[in-house]
Symmetry: C2
DNA sequence: CTATCAATGAAATTCATTTTCATTAAAGGG
DNA sequence: CCCTTTAATGAAAATGAATTTCATTGATAG
């Protein structure tokens, strides 16, 4: 295996092939979103409701810009400062989780009930989610060996997905 | 354990307590650095030699700005574009490794002979390095379960170091 | 020594994100 | 419903890291 940290990931400009998990949860009506906002002691506004529904029904691992574009379609008046601001607030209150890959713009997803980490294709940007209790336990073990009280962790795996492996083999044999 | 990704780390502005591993390797004379540069098919310049020696003898996990300040002391004429450029080149050639924590500026270290990951104190910024073969093996296992060919990974643990735990307990009992 | 082409540094540029600030609007009494 | 009090909003400017541009300088092969 490689020893490198960040493989200078492609910029995944369009959401082309990044359609890994489109949320199809229970529709979760507007009043549920209001509860979320009130739990943070914030005022309920249309903008915040729009942002929450974008996060809830849209695809996961969206950037702030993507969220802005989604809500802009519904309300062209909305400002991107509002989107950034509210995403930060939601993150601070742990309602959404920020995922960062290398130096790329942050991506957001509704905080999942059960923790997971990410396996990302360096070629097409596809993101798979996984959960591995053995790894989690070993992380705790490492931290305690250093006397640390573990508060969080980032585990991101990078590789080439099956599709991209095929695509590369096809291209290689064609060039021959 | 927390489920959060990045705990909005403090900015570690000064290198205050971040003195985890100061390199005291064999002095590695100038001609060794020249070899490194030539191996990349680049021209040997004073600037590049300065940057390499800063990386080699200084503390590890330095930002580009920190490297710039170190080499500026020796040669005030050097431009920060040169530092950024060469750090990128060195990273691409795997002579240095880029470490990123959340949205903070990238940090660099000479690529170690044996791979390691990082355990960072969210309170003071201290960084511990560790190596855990069980975790590495499990990562491979996860990737192969998804049919991915693993190319790299990022594992960063965040927690409170023993010193900061003490400091917090002291402060807590004082406030009482 | 010279010619060639890479390397440099200053300044401008990009890009994500944050901040500022004047304006608007939510919410809790009255 | 109507104030009043704040918080929220959006446009624009600011920030901060990193990159690019481009005219000038310098390394090195011959
Ligand atoms: Mn996820
Ligand atoms: Mn390290
Ligand atoms: Zn792929
Ligand atoms: Zn600490």
């Amino acid at each position: 295996m490689e020893l490198t940290k960040i493989p200078t990931l492609p910029k995944f400009t369009g959401g082309e092939s990044r359609e890994e998990r489109t949320l199809s949860r229970e529709p979760l009506d507007k009043s549920a979103f209001k509860q979320v906002i009130r739990k943070m002691n914030l005022k309920v506004t249309d903008q915040r409701l729009l942002i929450l529904s974008a996060l809830h029904e849209g695809r996961t691992h969206v950037t702030a810009q993507e969220v802005y574009e989604i809500v802009s379609a519904k309300d062209p008046e909305i400002g991107f400062a509002t989107v950034y601001r509210f995403l930060r607030t939601l993150t601070e209150h742990h309602f959404v989780t920020e995922v960062r890959m290398g130096g790329l713009p942050a991506r957001y997803e509704m905080t999942p009930q059960s923790h997971h980490d990410h396996l990302t294709c360096v070629s097409c940007g596809k993101i798979c989610e996984f959960e591995n209790h053995e790894i989690e336990a070993l992380q705790e073990k490492v931290a305690s060996q250093f006397g640390f009280e573990l508060t969080s962790h980032v585990l991101e795996l990078y590789g080439v997905c099956p599709d991209c492996q095929k695509r590369k083999k096809a291209k290689a044999s064609f060039g021959n």
